[in-house]
């Protein structure tokens, strides 16, 4: 068994934020301690109202090598981007 505590990624929903945002990572022996540690490392200045922690090893990520194949195609197709619609003022958080 590794002597290092596993790495956890921390997501915090701020006072006015709508979604949890990734704020960083930390080490902790288990999930409950990861939440405790996240509170101490990332939320001491009124930043958050909710904390999520996820084991870094459980995150499935796209490979940087796939960047072109995954993200490039739409760039040349201007009709794929919804940039021609005016946003109504009244609609918040769109």
């Amino acid at each position: 068994m590794s002597k290092e505590w596993p790495l956890w990624e921390v997501f915090i929903r701020s006072q006015h934020g709508l979604a949890h945002k990734h704020v960083g990572s930390l080490h902790a022996p288990d999930a409950a301690m990861a939440v405790n540690n996240a509170r101490d490392v990332y939320t001491r200045r009124n930043e958050g109202v909710s904390i999520w922690v996820v084991k870094a090893a459980d995150i499935v990520a796209s490979s940087p090598g796939d960047k072109d194949a995954l993200f490039e195609p739409s760039n040349s197709k201007v009709y794929r981007h919804p940039t021609f619609f005016p946003m109504p003022e009244e609609v918040k958080n769109l």
Partner: protein, 253 residues
């Protein structure tokens, strides 16, 4: 006993407990076993320092001799300190640090719950303000006692050694003298028996989960800190804490 004098003493006890434990924890700043633990210890130290300011600030006002929280913290000598012996015990290894914290947090939590119903409005307000922080301190130190106690063979042995070492300092808080008794009579502080029962029950639950053997609650308990009779070590803690104000009186940022 004069009630104002008793209340002043009682406020010093609360303030000095928080102050000395805060000072001891801040000595570990930068030396925690992991970055996360280091930050947590320092956060607790800062919380306790904030509580110290409220207690000693009130004590100084009540005394009316022009001593503010800083004068009380930095210009009293060791015999005038009223903290319990538990908080002046050396940092030792991490098991000692966490167990001292857990025993203190458990008592602190139930005491503040009692004090939030105090007949003294100001004390009730300080207690209510502190209890949010203390609730978290208690959760955190309890979590760590369980994980170290029920962890590896080595961590279990160290935690059990810390229990056996510190247990004798876990009873002083419930041994009420005339100051404490005057506070109970005036409706300012809670009676010791229910406080002790709640303390022992919580400690027993956490120790059971941590697979730690709990010594007898009726074992001999060290006493004297509340009355100003301290171990020699407190003098060294104060020497470091008070050095600047002693060497450069009234120095300011």
């Amino acid at each position: 006993m004069d009630l104002t004098q008793a209340k002043f003493d009682y406020l010093l006890r609360q303030g000095d407990n928080a102050l000395i434990l805060s000072q001891q924890l801040s000595q570990l700043c930068g030396k925690g076993p992991a970055l996360e633990e280091d930050m947590a210890l320092t956060n607790v130290a800062l919380d306790l320092l904030g509580q110290t300011r409220m207690w000693l600030g009130y004590a100084g006002e009540l005394e009316g001799q022009g001593r503010d929280e800083d004068r009380l913290a930095y210009l009293r000598d060791v015999r005038a300190f009223r903290n319990c012996l538990l908080v002046e015990q050396p940092n030792g290894d991490y098991a000692m640090v966490m167990l001292r914290q857990f025993l203190f947090d458990t008592w602190h939590y139930f005491l503040m719950r009692g004090l939030s119903a105090s007949s003294d409005r100001r004390i009730a307000e300080i207690a209510e303000k502190s209890i949010k922080e203390i609730t978290y301190h208690l959760r955190r130190s309890g979590d760590l006692v369980v994980r170290l106690g029920d962890g590896s063979a080595v961590s279990h042995d160290k935690m059990q050694a810390a229990v056996d070492e510190l247990w004798t300092y876990s009873g002083e808080m419930f041994l009420y003298d005339e100051v404490d008794q005057a506070m109970v009579t005036a409706g300012i502080a809670p009676a010791p028996e229910p406080l002790r029962a709640a303390f022992l029950q919580h400690v027993a639950e956490v120790f059971e989960e941590a697979t730690l053997r709990m010594p007898s609650p009726d074992a001999y308990m060290q006493r004297g800190g509340k009355q100003g009779r301290h171990g020699e070590r407190l003098g060294f803690v104060l020497a470091e804490m008070q050095f600047l104000q002693r060497a450069y009186p009234d120095a300011q940022w």
